[in-house]
């Protein structure tokens, strides 16, 4: 049973649980999307049904299994999102929320639009997988999806505007207390909105929709890239001066989801501009960009792992008594790294003819990403069980990654 009415005990960072389950759903969905042929923008019910209703085969087995995992995780996402929306509205009436709004931790509210953007993606994927013939009407749906992302984008900009205005006018940024990369959750949110707006760019055949999607996506992606540079410099400066806050140590891995989303935005944009505007970016160009971003992910992945291991984060926070809402942040890189890995395999290796589908090499390259997905899945369910499905949830020592 999910705990209710947490009031001041609630943390907006609980949204990361919903975000993680939605992200994991998308990561398993990518196997269907990348391994099965489809002329629609993404794999849909119409391609899956003939496989699931045909002769029993190995293909039917893995497609069925994958689909079941995706649907369970999507359902988990929607349940946790409804729970978070209700609890967040109650939390907003508390003194804790007022304090949060007047602290450096205000930026952590960006987790709300971040998760909302994931919900739009989750609706899109659910519709494609469950509604027969939906793709025939997809051009009519793109404007609605873009409008939804735009509204979420305005909400995100509103939060960021309040935060930066207050910080710039009242010098409220406490470097000593913000010794992590946690503020980069805001860039994560902007990147998620950018990738959402880039979906119609890649999939629509209407030039106007592609152009508008590109312009809007470009705004959020460029803002994210610019702020990423600023936050990285500030974050590393404070971390090197004051040392990292242990509770916020997973923030070292935030660069992984951010580069994943910006990388996918690039892939979607180049594909869309190729189809609708005859600009051409070849498979080799994609390989260059994908490998550059993948290298950044590996670098931050190794750095984060070394630090988290050194401070016993996995033991203390996943299994120990320090478990808190921000521990859900571990799920994001566990989702983003395999997602981007699947893009590297699909568009970098297969796209350049370096390997062929359904060969030992193909399986070999997919295996590490599958293992990370399974570890992340296990972590997600441990955290969901510990934090929300018990009458007495694990205490929230610090509701946000930043100190007040």
């Amino acid at each position: 049973m999910i705990c209710k009415n947490l009031q001041e005990k609630y943390s907006p960072m609980y949204h990361l649980g919903a975000l993680g389950s939605g992200g994991l759903a998308i990561s398993f969905f990518l196997y269907l999307n990348f391994l099965l042929p489809h002329e629609s923008g993404i794999i849909s019910f119409d391609q899956l049904w003939p496989i699931l209703s045909g002769e029993p085969s190995l293909r039917m087995l893995w497609v069925g299994l994958c689909l079941a995992i995706v649907l369970i995780l999507l359902a988990t996402h929607f349940v946790l999102m409804v729970w978070n929306t209700r609890e967040f509205s109650l939390y907003k009436k508390t003194e804790a929320y007022a304090l949060l709004k007047n602290s450096s931790a205000e930026i952590s509210l960006m987790v709300v639009p971040l998760t909302m953007a994931m919900t739009v993606n989750a609706f899109f994927v659910s519709g494609s997988l469950l509604i027969p013939g939906l793709w025939d009407y997809i051009e009519y749906l793109f404007p609605f999806a873009m409008a939804a992302f735009l509204v979420i984008g305005f909400y995100a900009m509103h939060i960021m505007g309040n935060y930066f205005t207050r910080m710039l006018l009242h010098k409220g940024y406490d470097f000593e207390q913000n010794n992590s990369l946690a503020p980069m959750i805001s860039i994560f949110a902007l990147s998620m909105i950018a990738v959402g707006l880039a979906a119609p760019v890649a999939m629509s055949h209407t030039r106007e929709v592609v152009a508008i999607g590109f312009a809007l996506s470009s705004f959020f992606a460029t803002s994210a890239a610019l702020l990423m540079l600023v936050m990285l410099v500030i974050g590393f400066s404070t971390m090197l001066t004051h040392g990292i806050r242990p509770a916020a140590a997973p923030s070292l891995w935030l660069m992984i989801p951010i580069t994943t989303l910006l990388g996918i935005t690039f892939m979607r944009t180049t594909h869309g501009l190729h189809e609708s505007f005859e600009s051409h970016v070849g498979p080799a160009d994609h390989f260059v960009v994908l490998m550059a971003l993948f290298s950044i992910q590996i670098m931050f992945g190794l750095l984060g792992y070394a630090v988290l291991k050194k401070i016993n984060y996995f033991k203390d926070y996943i299994h120990g008594d320090k478990c808190q809402a921000t521990t859900f942040a571990l799920v994001c890189p566990g989702v983003a790294f395999p997602v981007f890995g699947l893009f590297v395999v699909k568009f970098g290796l297969l796209g350049n003819g370096l390997i062929q589908m359904w060969t030992p090499a193909h399986y070999l390259f997919l295996l590490p990403f599958l293992l990370i997905q399974l570890i992340t899945l296990r972590t997600l369910f441990i955290l969901v069980r510990r934090l929300q499905f018990t009458p007495d949830p694990a205490p929230v020592h610090s509701p946000n990654m930043q100190a007040a």
């Binding site: 042929p37 489809h38 849909s44 189809e275 062929q356 589908m357 030992p360």
Partner: protein, 125 residues
């Protein structure tokens, strides 16, 4: 040692598994002026089609109205089809089992299986 290394790389790359694609002339002979019935994996639908000798393609997808497009074979031994408001799709053609043929993308993904070819405009399109 060098041979073993080469063999290992060949196996790892999957090249050993790839069937030999048809040449441009073979594709033209197979398709031009003929009709086919098949399954479009990429659409999840059965279809019948007639490929005129001059490059016109008339296709009837299960549950959909008839549509007209074009087909061609490139110097790179690729078979390409194009329907209005859709991008051109080019693939290799490989022979499968039981007289079937498949359209295969560069990465090895099968997008379409021709189950049976017949001479002329069999379906009267």
């Amino acid at each position: 040692m060098k041979r073993f290394a080469m063999l290992g790389l060949l196996i790892l790359s999957g090249a050993a598994w790839a069937a030999t694609p048809l040449t441009a002339d073979q594709i033209k002979t197979l398709i031009g002026g003929n009709s086919a019935s098949g399954f479009a994996e990429a659409l999840g639908k059965n279809y019948t089609a007639y490929y005129t000798p001059d490059g016109k393609l008339i296709q009837l997808l299960e549950g959909k109205p008839k549509r007209v497009g074009t087909w061609k074979v490139t110097d790179k031994n690729e078979f390409c089809t194009k329907f209005p408001s859709e991008p051109e799709r080019c693939t290799k053609v490989v022979a499968g089992e039981n007289g079937e043929y498949q359209r295969v993308k560069d990465d090895g993904m099968v997008t379409n299986t021709w189950k049976k070819f017949t001479k002329g405009n069999t379906y009267k399109y």
